[in-house]
Amino acid sequence: MSTYRVPDLESEKRLSEIRRAAAQGEPLPQGVVPAGSPFPLQEPSSGYYKIPLLKEPQWTHEVPIYFFVGGAGGAAALIASVAEGLGEHRDLVRSARWMAALSGAVSSGLLTSDLGVPSRFLNMLRVFKVQSPMSMGAWTLTAFSSFSAASAFADLLRGKLGNVVPVRVVQNASSILAAATGLVMSSYTGVLVGATVIPVWNRHVGTLPIHFAASGLNSAVSMLELIGHDDSTALNLIGLGASAYETIEGALIETDKSRVSSPLKKGKSGLIVRAGGVLSGPVPLALRLAYMFTGNKKFRRAAAVAGIAGSLLTRFGWVEAGKSSARDYSIPLNPPLSANSSSTLGSESDFAVSRSAS
């Protein structure tokens, strides 16, 4: 635990001082001063020796990568379905469909390897718990990866067998189901993170799903553009919308003065969240607008690269912020005086430092 004090030079020096004095028979004027004294006295607002009351999230790096891959894949399935329904070019539909299928497979791998006991992934499917976002997520991922794979496989068959009825039925059904579950894939991770005891996460539970969905959409269009679909106006418009929302979200975070939100702005986690916010919000927004006015595809490709990097950083930043938030001992000990009013939750002055019962 990080709170442990390691023996240091100071205490060693003090010890030899005491030894020397004792050997010379000198009386010590202040008696023995133990190393580390004066000892910390108790203060209710700082809890038990400032040891964090909450446990840090024990998620490994697979989890934010999963948020990124799953979010992009879910959005890709949606793009495939909508593009096909509106008679868009088949190449774009096929790319989006394969992207969704691939992300479904990779997501399953990531969500399995982050487990403490990966061989027990299937234990997730022995219950269906509406009150557990993790359970809902496991089922959504299972459905999404199956439907997106079926849809891509049907695409393959269609190339071999032609446009026969059974293939078309499978393709249409799986495509729609993949898009529907893809919508959940892109947004549920916000609920997963938000419905926890970690203060910075649950404070933002009302916007995290939208934030993550926008991030997923942003990275999906960016990936499609980078693999060659950079003349589709629709993709650029989606990218514009998503990065516009991300800009608003960034502004909301920056103007939130609460201590609970400080991990989003300060320290290592703040750096990652801010970098992610800039790269997925204002930067692609400006570059996409520049592309619209100049028609220079360099701008668009730069926007796509920024969007992907921003989305990935955003996921890592939020997980990191959760860890940092759990380390802030003060928040769970000093809840805002006005309970149940989340609108005023935890502005810096709400943390009353009082010795109530002593």
Binding site: A83, V117, L183, S186, V197, A213, S358
Partner: protein, 262 residues
């Protein structure tokens, strides 16, 4: 809460800080050590509850008043001890969050992690408002106090309560212990100790706990949160936002493809 719901009442005014509960718990449950570092925090080198620590004695130092040795009724004891444990909440965050159904409610009200089902997703870790559950990174699974479910089934007291030499840790039916705590408060009051409180957050979404604590002073001194909330309270807001997110994604994609054609 049924009639056979059992509970702990940890009476901090009787605790002498001997850590027999910690030792008995480790011995009965065969828990690994948790390192041998000095913390510098009074006589507590354990720090907090965790995957290998299911009972934890907290040592709280208050400034003593010269002459009374800090043991008068008017001021907090110079040295306070309290043995912490899993709260076995009435509405348990970990139990609600567990996606495998590994965490279950036992017949006597305990919240129990079945080690043969847990797959180590660690979602319970971020769902416990008391920071009790923890994943053992070597083993991969999450662990916490079992309320000695094995001993209770055999009609025995939990190991910590059995080992406690001063009966600071009391074990019995929840309703009886709740009354006993009130009686003890009055008894202390009569002796001139006015700052004793029973920690049981019944007015929060946790809905009360099965491990009551009787302490002197502010429970926050012992890292007991004044307003623990079960994370399921955030679900409504979260899923509403997810629905808005899905709707907006669909609308944006549709509009973009329609607009892109013109």
């Amino acid at each position: 809460m049924s009639a056979n719901t059992t509970a702990f009442l940890t009476d901090s005014t009787l605790c002498i800080g001997c850590k027999a509960c910690e030792v008995a718990c480790k011995e009965w449950n065969q828990l690994p050590d948790d390192g041998f570092e000095w913390s510098g925090n009074s006589y507590d080198n354990t720090g907090a509850l965790g995957h290998s620590t299911w009972r934890h004695v907290k040592f709280v130092e208050n400034s003593p008043e010269t002459g009374t040795g800090g043991n008068s009724g008017e001021q907090l004891p110079a040295w306070g001890f309290s043995s912490d444990v899993c709260k076995h909440c009435e509405v348990a965050g970990c139990l609600e969050a567990c996606p495998t159904g590994a965490i279950v409610r036992m017949e006597f009200g305990a919240v129990y992690i079945q080690p043969d089902v847990c797959n180590g997703c660690s979602y319970c870790v971020v769902s416990c408002p008391f920071g009790v559950v923890q994943r053992n990174e070597d083993d991969g699974r999450a662990f916490k106090c079992t309320f000695c479910s094995d001993r209770q089934r055999a009609g025995l007291k939990p190991a910590c309560a059995q080992a406690c030499p001063t009966e600071s840790i009391k074990f019995g039916p929840l309703d009886e212990l709740t009354k006993e705590a009130e009686v003890r408060l009055q008894e202390l009051e009569a002796r001139g100790i006015h700052d004793a409180v029973v920690y049981n957050p019944t007015d929060t979404s946790v809905g009360g706990i099965h491990a009551l604590f009787l302490l002197r002073g502010d429970p926050r001194n012992y890292n007991l949160p004044p307003q623990p909330e079960v994370p399921t309270t955030y679900l409504g807001k979260g899923w509403k936002s997810a629905a808005i997110a899905a709707g907006s994604m669909l609308a944006l994609t549709l509009l973009s493809f329609i607009g892109g054609k013109q």
